[in-house]
């Protein structure tokens, strides 16, 4: 009995089955025998099956690697036409060794009918699963969209509310600005004094913590520049307080001495806030009294200096190292005043610290006092209107994209 007959006898049930086709191959894949349940392969006997069948071609190396340990492969549900016959087939490939010869038995089982039901179930399952997932996603997206729309509407409403509130606050502040401006000395009042004046005034916000003051008392003119704690609305409140106290000192207490004025202001300020330990606000101030009869100018300062330029030379008289109000000083505040005889073409400047403290330049630093003084020296001989233009140009150029750091006030007097 040949080896092939032996194998065929062993797999007789395959050979006789109308549902199974088996194909016997030699070691190289040449067709040796086959029953003909689905296809007659007689004309291919002796030829390599790998050249006719892509399935086997693609796993030739796997078939050839079968051995006694793993001698069988099973491929369920192969949806590949078998020599023209459509269907769903289960493939089994067995390695068979007879004596020293290797054979491969390819068993093809037609399970088309059985798989038809499976196919329907699987199609239904997959369709349902996909539809559910897509529906769920659509619902989620819709909910997300609605949530985003709701949040956007909420944000929009909040934005509108904030804008309205901001506009209301700005309206109030703008109105406060009108009040503050009304309190500041008018051009008419400034024109009453016997010397030329310059006011360079740039609040950081709409209202300012810096203020200037001018008053004529008999033959004396009083000019002051104050820098109250903070800026904006709190600064503006303090400036009103400061102006009120100056009024009291000059009109009610009839004081014209700058030193006495500082003492009065300090006393009033400390008294005002003595009941509230949380408030340590105050102001820095420079006060000048110009005596027209004596042709003299008297200066006293609380943390603010007097700059003056005489015959091209820049001079400075420092103020006392204490602010008005704020904290009590153990041994009292010792304010002093200085009197100078006015000479023709003398120019005096009193100011807040805003200009020198402005941040900017290429390295985003303060403008600094040294540069500020040099600038005043450089422009002092020019008409005040031109000085104002130069001060503004220089400030904006230094400031660049930066915001204004603080309120700025410079008052110049020319004799």
């Amino acid at each position: 009995m040949t080896e092939i007959q032996d194998i065929l006898l062993e797999h007789q049930q395959h050979y006789l089955s109308q549902w199974l086709q088996f194909v016997l191959l030699d070691q190289e894949g040449k067709i040796l025998d086959s029953n003909h349940s689905f296809a007659d392969l007689k004309h291919l006997y002796g030829q390599s099956i790998y050249q006719f069948n892509p399935f086997l071609e693609s796993i030739q190396s796997v078939i050839e690697a079968l051995d006694e340990h793993q001698s069988e492969l099973f491929f369920p549900r192969m949806e590949i036409p078998f020599w023209g016959k459509d269907g769903v087939f289960d493939y089994t490939i067995k390695r068979i060794q007879r004596n020293n010869q290797i054979f491969y038995l390819w068993i093809v089982e037609d399970n088309t009918a059985h798989n038809q039901y499976l196919s329907l179930v699987q199609q239904e399952r997959n369709d349902t699963y996909i539809q559910n997932e897509l529906l769920q996603l659509k619902t989620q997206n819709q909910l997300l969209k609605e949530e985003v729309e709701k949040q956007t509407a909420d944000i929009q409403a909040q934005k509108q509310l904030i804008e309205k509130q901001k506009e209301d606050i700005l309206d109030s502040i703008r109105y406060a600005q009108r009040i503050q401006n009304a309190i500041l000395p008018t051009q008419k009042k400034l024109a009453q004094v016997s010397f030329e004046t310059m006011i360079f005034y740039r609040p950081k916000d709409i209202v300012s913590g810096d203020f200037y003051w001018a008053s004529q008392v008999g033959n004396k003119a009083i000019v002051a520049v104050a820098d109250c704690t903070g800026h904006g609305v709190p600064g503006a409140f303090m400036s009103i307080v400061g102006q009120n106290m100056l009024q009291t000192a000059i009109n009610a207490q009839k004081i014209t001495s700058p030193k006495q004025m500082l003492e009065s202001l300090d006393k009033q300020m400390l008294q005002l806030f003595e009941n509230d330990d949380r408030v340590h606000d105050g102001m820095d101030i420079a006060i000048l009294t110009i005596d027209n009869q004596e042709n003299s100018i008297t200066f006293a300062g609380a943390k603010r200096p007097l700059y003056f330029i005489r015959e091209g030379s820049f001079q400075e008289i420092k103020g006392a190292p204490y602010a008005i109000g704020g904290h009590h000083v153990v041994h009292g505040k010792n304010f002093v005043e200085f009197t100078l005889q006015i000479q023709p073409n003398d120019i005096f400047y009193i100011c807040s610290d805003g200009y020198a403290d402005q941040f900017g330049g290429t390295e985003d630093k303060k403008f600094m006092l040294k540069n500020f003084k040099n600038l005043l020296l450089k422009i002092h001989h020019l008409p005040f209107a031109l000085q104002q233009d130069i001060l503004l140009d220089n400030l904006l150029s230094w400031q660049g994209e930066n915001k204004q750091t603080d309120d700025i006030l410079i008052v110049g007097l020319r004799f």
């Binding site: 892509p54 399935f55 071609e57 693609s58 796993i59 030739q60 190396s61 796997v62 492969l73 099973f74 491929f75 369920p76 549900r77 192969m78 949806e79 590949i80 769903v88 798989n115 499976l118 196919s119 699987q122 199609q123 997959n126 369709d127 699963y129 996909i130 997932e133 897509l134 996603l137």
Partner: protein, 164 residues
């Protein structure tokens, strides 16, 4: 000219378009109707790359939620892998990393490509929202419907297989 045969398997979740990608690549055809694959469909296409005739035998394997459910015999002898997911369905790309780890154990050193299919169903904005959600970088965003990047993807994989 040298002629070689390479088994390419397309795997991934069901309904992601593996059969459509194969049909587009082999026959330049597309059908909107979804017909589930039960087991394996096999198609063949020859590409010529650098004077080599590469006969691609493409195994379009039925999609499963997890690759562990696919009969192991389907993977045997594969020379290249295309992992396909559906850009419109997050469930199909949630487990890419685990699936690929599993497959790499069986097919170490076999080149693979990750393809996000059904690009035609997404707007550019939706696409930009989806890409960051992918657990692994996706090399090809394809459309079996329009044919976008389909041929490129198979060419790229073939080059990788040849250079192995």
């Amino acid at each position: 000219m040298q002629s070689i045969s390479k088994k390419v398997i397309l795997i991934g979740n069901f309904g992601v378009g593996k059969t459509s990608l194969t049909r587009q690549f082999v026959f330049q055809k597309f059908a909107d109707e979804y017909l589930t694959t039960l087991g394996v469909k096999i198609d063949k296409k020859t590409l010529i790359i650098n004077d080599i005739e590469a006969n691609l035998i493409i195994w379009d394997i039925a999609g499963e939620v997890s690759q562990t459910k696919v009969p192991k015999s389907y993977y045997l002898g594969a020379n290249g892998i295309i992992y396909v997911f559906d850009l419109t369905r997050p469930s199909t790309f949630k487990h890419i990393a685990e699936d690929l780890d599993y497959i790499k154990q069986m097919l170490p050193n076999v080149p693979y490509i990750i393809a996000g299919n059904k690009k035609d169903l997404l707007t550019e904005e939706q696409l930009q929202e989806t890409i960051p959600q992918l657990p692994l970088p996706c090399e090809y965003l394809t459309s079996a419907k329009t044919g976008e990047k389909v041929e490129d993807m198979f060419y790229d994989l073939t080059k990788k297989m040849i250079s192995k």
